[in-house]
Amino acid sequence: MRLRLGQRVTYTFQFGIVFDRFPQLLEGALLTIRLAAMAMVFGLIVAVICAYLRTSGPKPMRWLVGMYVEGIRNTPFLVQLYIIFFSLPAIGIRFEANTAALVAMIVNLGAYATEIVRAGVQSVPAGQIEVGLALGLKRLQIYRFIILFPAIKAVFPALASQFILLLLGSSVVSAISANELTAVANTLQSTTFRAFEVYIVVTLMYLAIAMGFRALFAGLYWFVFVRGRGA
């Protein structure tokens, strides 16, 4: 495909070079998917714990979780990543690039998801909690057996879009040379000098991965919350 702009400039697209190295890109994409999926699982676990501490934990804990959430939500992911990868080794905590990326993603998602899950927890009618108390359940049991399920159901769409934002945001972990999709693209770009073709293909791959995850979430929602539960 040729593109002509004015009289002087011609650019010939060469996607062949990119597709020759497609297996490398696929490998990068797999790592991106793995990082995102693991961050989603662990981030949600962090969120469920922190949302409990934030709503019914002891005062200092509530305060601490509040600081974590506000601190993360008001600073860029990239800076959080740099602190984990570059600053922490100075006090003896050392991660290899891919692990640092995963830790940063979990810490980041955990904070956003805590706020979302907390909103879900607060949407559960007080009457249900009173029922739990009347049945003699402990606070943690009420959270686990009564609140958690409808809370997550209520905020599932918000959680899903936060997960997608995390997936797209994960492309910046290439800045610490974690070898996920964007990093592979950067390497290809610098060896083939076909920047535009490489990045177009990779952008479309991200789009496809995001759509895949959206479909997965829709399926998950149906499987967990709708199937066989009536209304």
């Binding site: 400039v9 939500r73 008001n74 992911f77 740099y82 600053s87 797209l168 910046v172």
Partner: protein, 221 residues
């Protein structure tokens, strides 16, 4: 090797203005484009509506970093020599427009349809309906999420450091390379971002409470 001095801190503080400048520029230009996107998305002409929705889907569905790379490397291939400022401004304008367009569409659609019908009954034309009746009400509910997006935009400008644009994060990197004190530099950088974003977050939450958004948004479209 030298120690991190007050001058180094001033260097980082000084770079904060480029973060602020880029955020404001992207917000203003992206706001203009986003306003157009929002209006196109509620158009009664399906192809226009779908094109605007496609724009939003495309730019919300792909990484910002990829958009930056495509504009930075892509356009230069066609002989358009872009300096970092132009490339970054274009990229963030496009990015902000996708999000603001979507937020504002939601706000316009949250206005009850009776408002459209009543103004129609008063023989107002489409533009008069939109700008005299719907918009003034939509702006009210649009302010809190718009301020909230500003926080997201300020944070997103950090990504521009990856293509070498010197702002807060990049200044932090430069200082780390000079002083080898990442344990001091990056927390300072994070603190400066926090100082920019947190007041906006608090303000946005305050506005949301005061305007009782849930009362307006809760109604059926």
């Amino acid at each position: 090797m030298r120690y991190f001095s007050f001058n180094d801190f001033l260097f980082i503080l000084d770079a904060t203005r480029w973060t602020i400048a880029l955020s404001l520029l992207a917000f203003l230009l992206g706001g203009l484009l986003g306003g157009v996107i929002a209006i196109l998305r509620i158009s009664s002409f399906a192809p226009v509506r779908l094109a605007a929705a496609g724009y939003v889907q495309l730019f919300q569905g792909t990484p910002l970093l990829m958009q930056l790379f495509l504009i930075y490397y892509g356009l230069s291939l066609f002989g358009l020599r872009l300096d970092a400022w132009t490339a970054v401004t274009i990229a963030y304008t496009i990015y902000a427009a996708a999000f603001l367009g979507d937020i504002w569409r939601g706000c316009i659609q949250a206005i009850p349809k009776e408002q459209w019908e009543a103004s129609r009954a008063l023989a107002l034309g489409y533009l008069h309906q939109l700008f005299l009746v719907i918009m003034p009400q939509a702006v009210r509910i649009a302010i809190p999420p718009t301020v909230g997006f500003l926080v997201q935009l300020v944070k997103a400008t950090a990504v521009a450091s990856i293509i070498g644009f010197v702002e807060l994060t990049r200044a932090g990197q430069l200082m780390t390379n000079a002083t080898f004190q990442p344990m001091i530099v990056y927390p300072i950088v994070a603190g400066l971002y926090f100082a920019l974003c947190w007041p906006l977050s608090v303000w946005s939450q305050h506005l949301e409470k005061r305007l009782r958004v849930e009362n307006v948004m809760g109604r059926k479209r």
